[in-house]
């Protein structure tokens, strides 16, 4: 089990209002694996993702990153987060910083790199997502797809052990989705470990090694990407039928 990166054990989250968003789910992610989490809105997908890097504190259960439990008070959460990349649905680029600064910010202030060193690395990552020509633009001047690619670059620059995608294409126009998905696909091919929460069923089928279908806070069905074509449970069948 040496290649196990992430182990989520019996994770559950009850929000202060009493909403039981996640009701004890468990899964493992191995090195180089890309896992897609699908499910209808409100099924707790995003909550699971946020619990993994503790943007939301899980109510109970364990999150184990590389054999080390991370949801305990004594864990250094900032250090852990820097090893878990995250890409948000609404990009969340830092509006007051240029593209290149967006990417080098974490390198300078978290990794403690020198400015020119960080910039060099940032340019490399930008090259990867094909955004090198817009390195001096402000996020406000980019299109949605470009923003998301910069966001991916920002997460990649930290050289994360695992990358979390929170519905990366939901806020994009259909014609912009392609380029972003292309980037994610390229990452998967390179062997990046990823968890992708997505509504793009087709994409999940193509890219993901494993698919987890969540419904009402529990894992309703789990398996290789082939389960999208052959859903076993009724709930998943119903869910998939709405997408055809």
């Amino acid at each position: 089990m040496n290649d196990e990166i992430l182990n989520v054990k019996n994770l559950s989250k009850i929000y202060p209002g009493g909403v039981h968003a996640v009701k004890g789910i468990s899964f493992k992610v191995h090195k180089g694996e890309s896992v897609a989490i699908i499910g209808s809105s409100g099924s707790g997908k995003s909550t699971v993702l946020r619990c993994i890097n503790r943007l939301i504190e899980p109510t109970s259960g364990d999150v184990i990153l590389k054999g080390k439990k991370i949801n305990i008070p004594s864990a250094d959460i900032n250090e852990i987060r820097s090893r878990i990349g995250m890409v948000f649905q609404s990009f969340e680029l830092f509006a007051h910083l240029r593209v290149i600064q967006n990417i080098s910010l974490g390198l300078i202030h978290v990794r403690g790199m020198k400015n020119d060193e960080a910039e060099k690395l940032a340019l490399e990552v930008l090259q990867k997502v094909d955004m090198l020509d817009r390195k001096d633009a402000y996020p406000g001047n980019l299109s949605g797809g470009q923003k998301q690619r910069v966001a991916i670059a920002r997460a990649l620059a930290m050289k994360p052990e695992i990358l979390l995608f929170d519905e990366p294409t939901s806020a994009l126009d259909p014609e912009l989705i392609g380029s972003v998905l292309e980037n994610i696909r390229a990452l998967a091919d390179e062997g990046m470990t990823m968890i992708i929460v997505t509504h793009e069923i087709g994409f999940a089928r193509d890219v993901a090694d494993r698919v987890i279908y969540m419904d009402q806070g529990i894992v309703a069905e789990e398996g290789s990407s082939s389960i999208i074509d052959n859903p076993q449970t009724e709930r998943m069948q119903k869910f998939l039928s709405t997408w055809d």
Binding site: G85, L97, G106, G140
Partner: protein, 812 residues
Amino acid sequence: MNITDDNSQFLNFSIRGFYILCTNRGTVSILFRRILGTPVFRKNPFRTNIIICLIVFILINISSVNAQTTIKSGWEIIDTDFDEDIFSVISTEEDELWGFGESGLIINSNDNGNSWTKLETIVEEDLISSDYLDGILLVSGTNGTVIHKVQDEGWNEINIPDKNTNIEEVAISSADSYFIVGSNGLIWHYDGSNWENKTFNNQHNYNSISFNDENTLDGIIVGDDGIILSTLNGGINWERIETPSLVEDKDIISLQLISDSRAYAVTEEGYILVSRGMDTNIGFEWELVSNELFLDFDDGLLNNIEVVNSIKIIISGQNNFIATSKNGGNAFEMHNLSLLPLDNGFILYDLVMIDGFCGVASGSNGTILITALDENGYCSEGLDQYLGFQIEDFNDFGQFVGKYSGWMLEGLIATMKIVAFGIIFGFLIGITLAIFKTAPTSLKDMIESHLEKLLLTTWFIIPVSIIFSKAGNSKLIGILIFFLLSLTLLILHTIINRKGNHSGDRDGLLGRKVPEQFRSLMIRLLGLSLLIGQPIGEYEIRGSLFLITESLISFSELNLEGIENIFAPIGNPSVFLDLLLGIMILIPSCMFILNNGNYNEIEISYSKNNNIKINPWKLRPLNSIATIYTDIFRNTPLIVQFLFLHFGIQIGRLIEESTAEFVLGIPILADIFSDRIYLSAICALAFNSGAYQCETLRGAIAAIPSGQMEAGRSIGLTYLQTMKLIIIPQAIRICIPPLGNEMVNLVLNSSLAMVIGYTELTRQGKLINAITFQITWTWGMVMISYFVVTWTLALILRRIEAKTRIPGLGIL
């Protein structure tokens, strides 16, 4: 006075400097890059530069035009038919004026000094000093000559037995009690029939004596070498009073008691001393009105002080010197007697005011000066023009502006000085509080991530500092040791964590943590020691329980009833602080004791079906502190804050005294930190503005989407880093308009600093008004000056706002 010239030069330089600063990309962009994260100023196009330069050049040249003023003296010379020197003049309650002089000259006037009659001389000696009380006139002269006149009787001689005495001044204590002082410690007392020598110390020369007209037992004597004697029993015993160190070796030449509550004295050089009978009787405590001499009075010495009331003071001296202060001696306006056709050798001997507006001055060769009278020969009471002092005749507005724009500028600079520091400190306070208010740090976070630090602080750092401060008997030592220890540990902690290459934990202390199984126990023990305190050897550190009970007992001793208790904090401030501290410790200490390792909410049922769930672990201590601060400063008037901070807790004095040792010898800092009023004004403005700026900033922070915080945290930035690098730079851009509003408010509010005596623009306007009586001109100029400042500020802010705009953030 060359104020105007100096200041236009200053204006010249400051405008140029400001301009260079604004157009120079380097300086300002560095400044703003620190706050806003990106360079904001770009170089102006060349043509704009030239136009701005031209405008500034023209403005500077217009502003330095200086007009000449015609000055008319407010004093006029009275024709008299005698030419003896008149050494002393005095006014009586019956509107009579008396003058005494060379070779026994006695003159009087019944029409406010317009005409004088020479009376028959009784003695041949020079008469040099006089006093009046309840119908008694007492005059003394050379060779021990003393004459007096009781009610309507004639003049009688009551000479001192010793012909060689050198009398300086006489004073009437009561109807049958006269005093005389002179050189070599001479004090003689007349009890209605006989003179008695009461000299008890012949080392010092006495120059002046005065008794309180209302409470005739209080008297004061002043003399050479800063000597002041005071009596409470009509002169039976005299007590030597300590003088302010600056005048210890100066000769105090003249003295006047004006009421139960105030006495003024002046030294030859022009230091003015005041005694306010507040805590003690009048005359027992003296302080200098100002540490500086009021004028460059270098040729000649003063010889007389005449106090009209507590704000209007006139001093006179050699070389025809008369100067008036209308603000209790803080600033004097000199009267130019050289405009009058006086002889070259004219000496001014005495000056007396009949009331606030009419006065008489006497001098050599029978010269008598009176203040301007109206056509009926009366002092035009109520018309301040006839104050009898230098009246300036302004032919046109240009002259007025030419003369007083310097004053305005001085006030403007003073205003800018407090405003600049007020803005800086206010912003720092505001941003700190705003971060406090939005900080998610709850009690739980604090104890979880800082348990080790808290333990070390409560069980080691605080006890050690307290032991040291008690052993050294000084609070300062304790505070110093506390900071020293904390700082050392913090630095060590940072170094060790940095070496840990991020694989170790950032929390904990020095890379060590309390093991998981002991954490809960340690938290409980911590709570216990906070609650009941710790005994350390012979010393004891009081816990919150003791603090609260002790302070409540102290409050009950204040004897306040019912609603009056809201004033208890003022009745005993130190105890109130104890109480506050006790309550602040009580809540967390109770929580710590109840800690069982998980931080669940507590369910309280107050009726059958209604439960409330509270989670005290979610209490945010930083937020509470910031809330208390802003509540206090936003719910009290600024003017009261000024008064309370300056006079109430004397914050300026506290800062001055605590920093005196550190800034000694550093030229600029020493100047800044020795001006108490200035320090107080800055503090009041900054504290107040900080509270408002905090709310503005907090609103802006709240307006940043939460995703930005999530994004920052997700790449591994700490909360504070995310705040500093991502949230605050964006928030500041959002709140530049309301923040600008707040800064403009601060400039306008700075006018309230005049209530504590800070000479800023408004106060300067008041002074100009009091001197010139050009009400419309003065206040109009003040208004325009304020407008120029705030408008410029608004323009700069508008420019900053435009320059810092980020594409895609906010609607245009």
